[in-house]
Symmetry: C2
Subunit: 107 residues, 2 copies
């Protein structure tokens, strides 16, 4: 894949820029085990799973498990987003360089 | 791995029995895309991800994405639970057979 970092159009730049922000937020979230950069959001979870876990191991363990399952999904999803947006660490570096150049031009 | 389905102790039987119930619930949940056998549960999600998605694609898309991420994790986690509890479809069949035998004895 040829990666046209310098020639990307504005729309593509903005898309990558937003994805990078999202990825950085996810990284912080995962490192802090959901303590940082997070908001509470209601989701639907499998009833039997939740009930059995609360019954067997208590509410705190059930909470941990639901978050554990969510972070498994999040790790995989964010890896895909990274691959789709940048493909390789070098492309990310090139993009960050481009961001810096744009920022210094704007000043 | 030798699978001692007939000789398992009561504790092991109960553990597998509960895991099977959980797995069945998850399967129904996944098939119905969270519509069936689900309860609403608050989780912490990455803030930037949620905000950007709501901004870019609206609240409904953000909701779908959060659920999509959760189901990725759930598919992987339940596959692991299945492997750990039964290992192979034949063992599951043998266990279901054992369940039926116990049920008919209890009647």
């Amino acid at each position: 894949m040829e990666y046209k970092i310098k020639n990307m159009d504005e729309q593509e730049f903005q898309r990558k820029y937003l994805n990078l922000k999202i990825l950085k937020g996810i990284q912080t979230y995962l490192k802090s085990e959901g303590e940082e950069e997070s908001v509470v959001y209601p989701i639907r979870v499998p009833q039997e799973l939740l009930y059995q876990m609360v019954k067997l191991q208590g509410a705190e363990s059930a909470d941990k498990l639901v978050h554990h399952i969510f972070t498994i999904g999040l790790s995989i999803w964010s890896e895909r987003l990274f691959q789709e947006s940048f493909g390789a660490p070098e492309n990310l570096k090139a993009f960050i360089q481009l961001m810096k150049e744009r920022e210094s031009k704007e000043k």
